[in-house]
């Protein structure tokens, strides 16, 4: 990760986006922008929130760093450690398990040689198990970046992995 050497600062377009978001709330309530701005920050800085990035967000919103840390650590979408280019978020909740999510997960573990929470040595994939993605009728479901991949089978998952390897572009939520 080259995050240590890069200056942590939003581009002019991203900054404009941040100020537009702050404008959605009454004056003095800019803290409400925290979740949307953290999503932008994560997408901008290698899909994870380093302490430096969180401090930058705190500074932008005029709040204490701890107010950012406690929020970032509460919500599951924020990565507090570096992750692979593609974070494979496999739903592990009941309805998906009724239609084969456990098989899909163990297939991915074997195929990639990693357990949930780990990243492949080439930095390409991070496997993450998540709770209900609200797509229960179309399980097994896996989210990668902003996209839901539904009705997955081990074969379809293999094709996706190939496709991601070819694209080789970091997938983020926004």
């Amino acid at each position: 990760m080259d995050i240590d050497t890069r200056e942590i600062r939003f581009s002019a377009e991203r900054l404009a986006e941040v100020y537009e978001i702050i404008g959605r709330y009454p004056e003095g309530r800019q803290k409400s922008a925290l979740l949307p701005v953290l999503h932008i920050a994560q997408a901008e800085f290698d899909n994870w929130l380093s302490p430096e990035v969180m401090d930058y967000v705190a500074d932008l919103l005029g709040i204490q760093p701890i107010e950012v840390y406690e929020v970032a650590s509460f919500y599951t979408m924020f990565n507090l450690k570096p992750v692979g280019k593609y974070v494979l978020e496999v739903c592990r909740t009941g309805p998906c398990c009724l239609v084969g999510a456990e098989k899909l997960q163990s297939h991915l573990e074997t195929k990639l040689g990693i357990k949930p929470g780990e990243t492949t040595p080439d930095g390409m994939f991070t496997l993450k198990t998540v709770e209900c993605l609200a797509a229960c009728g179309f399980g097994p479901v896996m989210q990668v970046g902003a996209t839901y991949y539904e009705r997955l089978t081990p074969e379809k998952a293999d094709e996706l992995l190939e496709q991601f390897r070819k694209e080789n572009k970091r997938a983020t939520y926004c």
Partner: protein, 436 residues
Amino acid sequence: MEVYRKQGGYAAVEKALKTMTPDEVLEEVKKSGLRGRGGAGFPTGLKWSFLAKPEGVPRYLVCNADESEPGTFKDRDLMVRNPHSLIEGMIVSSFALGANTSYIYVRGELFYVIRILEKAISEAREKGFLGKNILGSGYDLELYVQPGGGAYICGEETALIESLEGKRGNPRIKPPFPAVSGVWGCPTVVNNVETIAATSWIVQHGGDEYAKIGIGRSTGTKLISACGNINKPGIYEIELGLPVEEFIYSDEYCGGIAGGKRLKAVVAGGSSVPVLPANLILKTMAGESRLMSYESLAEGGFVSGTMLGSGGFIVMDEDACIVRNTWNFTRFYHHESCGQCSPCREGTGWMEKVLHRIEYGHGKMSDIDLLVDVAAKIEGNTICPLGDAAAWPVGSAIRHFRDEFEWHVREPRLSQERNYGLAGYADPLPVQAAEA
């Protein structure tokens, strides 16, 4: 937008803003008997009438689109396929409540849905349905979409409000209720996506017309998201009062159990509501046909009934393992507990551990009553309903499927090789019907 307009879209906005007062809109919603579609089923008109209206203090309407109850996936589809129906509902509802700024809080995972909503909002603004002095009525409304961060608990209305304020999703102690002190301490109404979308139809056609649909106090239609071991999983809009048997077996809806298997159990309203075995979901204890309505599904209380909840309809076939499914749901609640209240934070964790050991062949007979005991001690002892939601699936699974739990303990080896099957709670329908 064009399609929606052609089909009569935004007529409710014109009608409400040009010919009605906010109180008249409220009156129609009250008459309609519409009940909250997020799970609790609380009468919407009544909820609105509790909203405090102090002079000079802004009021807010927040739409709860943090859909994350396992088994529930109706709101996502509604927003993707028909975003304008939600926006139109937001406009007439905000008008009724006197809110000039409203938010749609969407679970963060659904960024692509957020983009769809944002595009639809800007279309509505271009046509003059949002912004200052809408349609020359003098009413102003700004509408924004807020992303969540991945937390089931933010579907609870006070946790959602905390999250909207940029904080952890810890539910607040009530009272004060949001109607008095919600977002930034201002009076706030939080309603589900489906509830709000229904209000524009009610305004356009009148509350009395809406009340004619459905059965008894379950008026109107409801989106049911059906999943699990059925032939046709998906989202179905049903008139409340449809027989459960028809919903499961008719080709118009779920199309029967997948692979010609037999029905074992159903969780009728999202993972939180009590699970029922096949015989009790199809018929009540009194032998009456069970209907898809708030009252009929609750018939028999928690002894032999369940709840309509959010309409997340999870169907399990004869091969499903009740112990495994209960363990899975409990793991979910343990993961999603915000950690504020000890009974929920600790209790869900212990239930998960005990269920795990039963499922993996290390259980003791006393574990079963231990689970009942822990569940009973969580229920009712927490700030928000997540505690109850975690306790009910466990309590009901043991109430109705106790022999399956005992079998896991008695036959640890066998239980690792196969599932318990249908056994005593047999599907009461003739085999042919299940295959049809």
